[in-house]
């Protein structure tokens, strides 16, 4: 019983508090301000909806301009990831001294397999080495002239987590070099360096492309808004005569620019995802041929958000510039 009576009285007083609060002039102004913005957000979308063909064309052009850099970003990201994956399948070759016989070699391989940083260690005997060399090197004829096998036995070592913990691999290399029977310890990182150089160039290219296509989006939006300004010149003149501030005149166009950018960004994201979906199967097959387990990576949540916000920002920026220019021309002489 007391539970029912108490809330009612407190509800009444909290209602009174709420009404008092809502009647404060600044609260009302704030409320009106938010109402106006919400109204403009919807109204500007409605205006675009009323010219569906022109609006969708603009959004489509923006989307295509944005899909290009987004696609390159995804490509570079995936190449980098693939490189890392391939590096993980990289082997360290421990060339044993020529006098070491296969039995000693296989004992060393077994011992190395127990090393904490080693995934796998396998002996390639002198004979296996010779066979492979004859088959692949093209020096088979020359080798036949020798009456002994010049090749040493090799232990192929697969390191653990070579990408995420390069310092561990470095330590492993030190350990391997410390083996008495080892002649030469080699890890082929050359191609890795090449790949990373290529990726750096690609990254810079993508950066430049970002700037160029952002500029394109800015221009597309400004040009579209400029046409709309032209159509609504009389309306702007009238609202200015009724005492509209520049901000008031600018606002609906900023919202229009926002929708263009945001719509273009959203469509670009969808196009991007569709593109990656189409590429997923062939890429996986290609990766399997290289013995790597690569999953095509889609745009991350952070990058997706960046794309949407960046696109919306470009839309607003493009609108701002052109409306401001127009308003400055309208100032009284």
């Amino acid at each position: 019983m007391t539970r029912r009576r108490l809330p009612r009285s407190s509800r009444r007083s909290s209602n009174r508090l709420l009404r008092w609060f809502a009647a404060l002039p600044w609260v009302q102004r704030l409320e009106n301000y938010f109402f106006m913005h919400a109204h403009l957000l919807v109204a500007s979308l409605g205006r675009l909806y009323r010219t569906p063909v022109a609006s969708s064309l603009t959004v489509l052009v923006i989307a295509i301009a944005l899909t290009l850099p987004a696609g390159f970003h995804a490509l570079v990201d995936n190449l980098g990831r693939a490189g890392a994956q391939l590096e993980a399948t990289n082997r360290i070759s421990v060339f044993l001294k020529p006098e070491i016989v296969n039995e000693v070699g296989s004992r060393i391989a077994r011992k190395l397999a127990e090393h904490p940083q080693v995934q796998e260690a396998r002996l390639i005997t002198k004979e296996e080495g010779l066979r492979e060399f004859q088959r692949y090197s093209g020096f088979g004829e020359a080798l036949r002239l020798l009456d002994f096998n010049p090749l040493p036995a090799v232990v192929a070592v697969a390191p653990k987590d070579s990408l995420s913990r390069p310092e561990d691999v470095e330590r492993l290399l030190q350990d391997l070099r410390g083996i008495d029977e080892a002649d030469l310890v080699q890890m082929d990182t050359d191609w890795m360096h090449k790949l990373s150089a290529i990726l750096r160039i690609a990254g810079r290219t993508v950066g430049l492309l970002d700037i160029l296509l952002a500029l394109a989006v800015l221009l597309i939006v400004s040009n579209t808004i400029r046409l709309e300004l032209h159509d609504r010149q009389e309306e702007i003149a009238i609202t200015k005569l009724m005492g509209a501030t520049d901000a008031f005149v600018r606002r609906p166009f900023l919202y229009t620019g926002f929708w263009y950018g945001f719509g273009g960004g959203l469509l670009a994201w969808l196009l991007m995802t569709l593109l990656l979906l189409l590429l997923d199967t062939p890429v996986t097959r290609l990766a399997q041929l290289y013995g790597a387990d690569i999953q095509l990576q889609f745009l991350s949540a952070g990058k997706s958000l960046g794309l949407l916000l960046g696109a919306a920002g470009l839309g607003i920026g493009g609108a701002w510039g052109v409306v401001d220019h127009h308003l400055r021309r309208m100032a009284p002489s």
Binding site: N32, I238, T239, M242, A244, T245, F248
Partner: protein, 221 residues
């Protein structure tokens, strides 16, 4: 309410559009600005909301010297004025209601207050029943009444009208003029540019006569 002191307006391409204009409008006064076409009526009216600035001289509106107002103050000056145009200047893609609401939306009023005031203004010009219509569906007289409702909806102390009956037939013109007199009776100050001398003389208000950019000496009524 409104004072011109030795105001000139000169355009680079032509001579003086206005020269040595001095007059004063007291609060609650209604005056007509007349003269032949090209006498400078529109130019004079354009100086008050600072659509253009005078070349020389001083204009005060409600005690404020317009020369001291910067670009950022102009919107606030214009909110103190009600403007009525010969060609109505309504927004054709908005309803009568939305047209009349415009000054209130600009001034940042909330939706309930806007609804109340717009209906009051539309009631005054007898167009309450047509608030959902679009301007193109209305007669000329009705469109000008929408324009008047828009000019009074924010209760400005000073109303400026530039040839408000220029596009209307005599009967409608008379109707509009009577509406102005009614507004004047409740204390609104009005300055109306018109060359409809017959109508003006019947209303018996103060007349400012412009000729080639100069104000003729006023006759005592």
């Amino acid at each position: 309410m409104l004072q011109f002191s030795n105001v000139y307006k000169r355009y680079p391409e032509g001579g003086d559009a206005l020269a040595a204009i001095s007059f004063r409008l007291k609060p609650g006064e209604m005056a007509f600005l007349t003269g032949p076409s090209g006498a400078g009526k529109s130019t004079l009216l354009r100086l008050i909301p600072l659509i253009e600035r005078p070349s020389r001289g001083q204009i005060t509106v409600g005690g404020r010297n317009l020369a001291r107002l910067g670009g950022g103050d102009i919107p606030h000056l214009r909110r103190q004025l009600g403007l009525i145009f010969q060609d109505f200047r309504l927004l054709d893609d908005r309803t009568v209601f939305d047209n009349v609401a415009l000054p209130l939306v600009i001034a940042g009023f909330g939706p309930t207050e806007i609804g109340r005031r717009v209906r009051a203004a539309l009631d005054k010009v007898d167009l309450l029943a047509k608030e959902r219509r679009y301007p193109r569906g209305l007669s000329g007289g009705e469109q000008q009444r929408v324009g008047i409702a828009r000019a009074i909806v924010h209760k400005p102390p000073l109303i400026l009208a530039d040839e408000p009956t220029g596009n209307l037939d005599p009967a409608l013109s008379e109707e509009i003029m009577l509406l102005f007199r009614e507004l004047n009776r409740v204390g609104v100050t009005l300055l109306i540019a018109s060359h409809d001398l017959g109508l003006i003389s019947r209303l018996g208000s103060r007349v400012l006569q412009l000729d080639q950019g100069r104000l003729e000496p006023e006759l005592e009524p």
